[in-house]
Symmetry: C2
């Protein structure tokens, strides 16, 4: 176990340690029953005093994350009913691969209230695994957080609200499939070559037209193709962010980005938002104390909150990056999916000095399984990213790149126009339904675009319990706490209204509402 | 600029600094004409004395990597004719994206002896870029080495010996293409889903049969699908290797692995080989001084040397990993491509305690453009890798995974049997041709399998010059020095005989031989 401590920042060391351990527990990386290192051992390995580690363990114990057994040491606690603890526990699978063979599945799905207690053979297997692979517990890793892994894996949920994805019935799969079939027939050699690390030149050229129309007049030389925006975020982080570097991001933010920056040992500082997006006034003050290495933002129909950053704040954010000579990652999955009026211009469109790395997923809107996104960066920054891309996978599959090319070249705009209408209809239906059936005390605001509704529940609701009762009815959603760096409590949930057929989505919401009411009534409000 | 210094190891700090800067220069990450930080500034940022930095700069100057200009500072030198300097220089492209729009191309291709001098507009562009993006020069990164990027990008070489890949005419592209067409027609929704982070369960099950037949009886739960082995190597490194960790590997080794470990700030220690592979006796002694965090090996038909590790050494290596409680990465691209007798069993097949992470590329042998490899690991190790995979790209494209499934399930063994015959014929033709036409003083041994010939040239040969003269005739090869960690000189070149049609390969070799002779005669032997 390896914990990145910042001695410069204001956060006390015991809190840093307990948060780091708590995150590993929430991420499923430290499992129920695993013994923590002794106070002395951890103190030595972290280079801190034993008092510091004792305080951290006491905090974890107080929060019910670990259990102290006199004379034996501290152990990761089984699931508590506390909100943040939800999903922190997997039945009888510590170090055992057998659970994985089910083909993924959200971990929370497996818990169903403890009804599946491990049989003798499972316990035997667990003991076997401990004996054989016990050395691995001490084998240090650099993986402090893995909420993506825990919360976004393939799910069999009948009513899947957890993933910000578009239902296959709305996607142009026929056209893209035809392009793929044609390529395979006419240019089979595409399957035999690695292609260019930077991505196919033809596809990059098509993307330039697209970006130009959106105020970003870059040449193909300034673009790189990545296997989805997730890879783009990851490549930027591995290239430019390291231990102790300060990364600013909105609170809440995209889980996948938080996982990545945590993995780089960055100091993440969350900046609150209001209806105009990230509070640049607060950001400016925070930067005075800790200069930014990088600022990550989803300025348009933010994930998960749906908020759009105002034009004025976009300008001020860019100014700030210029004065601190740092990078902004502008993650833009949703700007083409507006429902009423087009959002403000991208930050990249105002960037004159290469401070903004702009990321746009194409596959999210066209065919997520193709994993095609575009990263635009200028100057020397892009070359370094291409070098990192080479080391990470030798380039994205060429066939997938070329299969989306004709559609992006010819039909993208007409298609997204239709898609906007369809998504708006879904969002409005979902919002109407919530308005009519959601229990009093639930708050949300209808987004101007994108795929998500961000619901605030009364603070008393136990989101973990709600998750499990929903799960029993085949309903999945995203618990809000995974959208924050660190370990704050959150009484939000994210519902994506685009992942199912419209009627299915409605049925799912109608099923969810009574559960919500139940969860709210089960507690003092 | 960020340099990872090890204060524990035996290597003097000035040497560490000059090697780190030298590697950045060789990797194209610090370009001709770029000004290095002042001695004082670098000393402060690295926390070393100015004397240390001065010594490092003096060493770089002595080796011709940098030029000192009185009163102005130190600058990255233009291309020298020294062997290691070959390819260290790109004409007029410092920070300029325009060169990239050509769609990649090996950097060395562009140099053709300085004949393309930058015109006025290029210089103007360069000045513009400096002015606009100048701040980026000081923006620190974590990318110390990028030889993959420099040496393996898409090349237009007519005679391409540089890439260890199989010519499309030998690959089962028709079958895989048919499978892809069928999938697109019957299951278009595959393009719309993210799939499981761990990889498709069906494909993993097919792979288990394959591995079982090779003495690795693991279940699908112990396998993960990655976008090529490169990604597997990268995921293991990002999860388990960090600054100061010691990674042992063969000398020479696979460039792509060296880039990755360098990127993690690891201390790499190269272990010499003999005809039985890695010298485990030496490794054992080295480990006494610096315990291993991870050992990377390509034990079968090693890349680039072609050497196969003996059974006895495989056992001793595994013993060593057990006693040090560390991981071995067993990279196995070539074991199915033996020419005479099957190679010894894999190290993984003897592993009882989850010390070996076994990696097998399927796409390399079937359809490299599909980017499908398998990573096998046991215990808790694999879960951590899946979590890292999620953060790096949300999973490999499902369509590509399923397109290779039927072929691996049904025809793989019959196919590789034929492939072995075809590759053996190529290798033997190449070896015959070398025997007849290679100048005296060139040494090699015919490999028992795989795709590469590893040639040792007399130490006096200027490989950079040879590369350029070959390049002018449309011939590409891999210069040996990129296969070593650090900055040693090497008088090897790697020729891959499988990337072209057999006749083309022969013609290429026949064209290369006189150039080799010329390069050898041009120098005192």
């Amino acid at each position: 176990m390896r914990i990145e401590l910042s001695r410069a920042g204001g956060k006390p060391l015991p809190l840093q340690i307990s948060e780091a351990l708590g995150q590993r527990i929430s991420s499923g990386l430290l499992q129920k029953g695993v013994k923590l290192p002794s106070v002395r051992k951890l103190a030595v390995s972290l280079g801190v005093s034993q008092v510091t580690v004792s305080k951290a363990y006491a905090d974890l114990e107080r929060r019910g994350r670990i259990v102290r057994r006199q004379g034996l040491g501290c152990f990761v606690a089984p699931l508590k009913d506390g909100k943040q603890e939800a999903g922190d526990y997997r039945e009888g699978s510590a170090g055992l691969p057998s659970d994985r063979s089910s083909g993924g599945g959200n971990f929370w799905d497996r818990e169903d209230g403890g009804s599946r207690s491990p049989g003798r053979s499972a316990l035997q297997k667990e003991a076997d695994a401990r004996r054989k692979f016990g050395w691995q517990e001490d084998y240090g890793d650099y993986l402090p957080r893995a909420q993506l892994w825990r919360n976004f894996d393939y799910s069999e949920a009948e009513y899947s609200f957890h993933l910000a994805a578009i239902h296959s019935g709305l996607l142009p799969l026929k056209e893209i499939g035809e392009a793929m079939t044609m390529l395979v027939a006419k240019r089979p050699e595409l399957m035999s070559v690695y292609g260019n690390f930077q991505g196919d030149l033809g596809l990059r050229e098509v993307m330039t037209t697209h970006l130009k129309a959106r105020g970003i007049p870059l040449s193909a030389a300034s673009l790189m193709i990545t296997s989805g925006t997730q890879q783009g975020i990851d490549l930027v982080a591995r290239t430019f962010v390291g231990p102790g570097d300060t990364v600013y991001l909105e609170a809440p933010s995209y889980t996948g980005a938080i996982d990545v920056y945590a993995g780089r040992g960055a100091e993440m500082i969350s900046v609150p938002m209001d209806q105009d997006g990230m509070r640049i006034d607060l950001l400016t003050k925070l930067c005075d104390r800790r200069p930014p290495k990088l600022i990550y933002t989803v300025p348009t129909f933010q994930n998960p909150s749906g908020v759009t950053m105002s034009m004025e704040r976009r300008q001020r954010l860019l100014e700030l990056a210029r004065s601190y000579r740092c990078l902004i990652v502008e993650d833009d999955p949703f700007s083409d999916l507006y429902f009423y009026s087009p959002p403000p211009s991208s930050i990249k469109s105002m960037d004159k000095n290469g401070h903004v790395i702009y990321m746009k997923s194409f596959s999210k809107v066209l065919a997520p399984g193709c994993r095609i996104a575009c990263v635009a960066a200028e100057g020397d920054i892009l070359e370094r990213l291409i070098a990192a891309k080479a080391a990470s996978d030798l380039g994205s599959p060429l066939l997938n790149q070329l299969a989306v090319l004709p559609f992006i070249a010819g039909k993208y705009d007409a298609y997204t126009q239709e898609l906007r209408t369809a998504l708006r209809s879904r969002m409005e239906r979902a919002a109407r339904l919530l308005k009519r059936h959601a229990p009093q005390g639930v708050k949300w605001s209808s987004p101007g675009g994108g795929l998500n509704l961000w619901l605030e529940l009364p603070a008393s609701v136990n989101i973990g319990e709600l998750y499990r009762s929903a799960s029993r009815q085949g309903i999945s959603f995203l618990a809000g706490h995974v959208c924050y760096a660190g370990e704050p409590s959150s009484s939000h949930i994210r519902l994506s209204y685009a992942q199912m057929e419209e009627e299915q989505m409605e049925r799912g919401l109608l099923l969810l509402m009574p559960l919500l009411k139940e969860a709210m009534n089960g507690r003092i409000m």
